[in-house]
């Protein structure tokens, strides 16, 4: 079955609003990462967060390992934040299992 579940599948925001993306994983993750994909582009790592809370710029990730969930908070969204956000669980030798992604659209 699906090991990594993301919600919502899609999200539309007005510029300046905050976004909250959720990730649930079916087994205790050794590492949990968030990636961003621009439409038609490649993937870029945003945050590596196996547990606790991590910040970078306008992004905050909180992972509660024993509850098998992680969230990505984007504050003051901008149109350039539009794209797809993936969480991925890393297993042995850093093999990644991805969720299906959340498509974020930020409109001006």
């Amino acid at each position: 079955g699906q090991q990594v579940q993301q919600s919502p599948a899609s999200l539309v925001l007005q510029e300046g609003e905050n976004a909250e993306l959720q990730c649930n994983f079916s087994s205790t993750a050794t590492r949990l990462q968030w990636f961003y994909q621009r439409p038609g582009g490649s993937l870029v790592s945003l945050l590596y967060n196996p547990s606790g809370t991590k910040h970078t710029g306008r992004l905050t990730s909180t992972t509660v390992t024993k509850e098998r969930r992680s969230s990505l908070h984007i504050s003051s969204s901008q149109t350039t934040d539009s794209g797809t956000y993936f969480c991925a669980r890393a297993g042995g030798n850093n093999k990644l299992t991805f969720g299906q992604g959340t498509v974020l659209s930020v409109i001006p």
Binding site: R31, S45, Y48, L96
Partner: protein, 112 residues
């Protein structure tokens, strides 16, 4: 920033034909990975490698072979391409362990 390149960037193939997708990384990473991305499935791991000469099966290896002739190069081979292999393929590299993976720009493959 790690540099991972893929070729070709776009490919049209015929059913039953052989397709080779190439990946090159210039950061001397030990590990390399091949994923495919399809709508509704996110990215799924096809094959990976720990270093030159090694290949390992990922989560969806059927219909694919891989080759790692050197530290820098990792190829994905479709011996008999089928329309179900139409997808976007991403190569990635990394040190393994707690390091992140660095992704290439992707190859769009259409099998007719």
């Amino acid at each position: 920033e790690a540099a991972v390149t893929q070729s070709p960037r776009n490919k049209v193939a015929v059913t039953g034909g052989k397709v080779t997708l190439s990946c090159n990384q210039t950061n001397n990473h030990n590990n390399m990975y091949w994923y495919r991305q399809d709508t509704g499935h996110g990215l799924r791991l096809i094959h990976y490698s720990y270093g030159a000469g090694s290949t390992e099966k990922g989560d969806i290896p059927d219909g694919y072979k891989a080759s790692r002739p050197s530290q820098e190069n990792f190829s994905l081979i479709l011996e008999l391409a089928t329309p179900s292999q139409t997808s976007v393929y991403f190569c990635a590299s990394g040190w393994g362990g707690q390091d992140t993976q660095y992704f290439g720009p992707g190859t769009r493959l259409l099998v007719l």
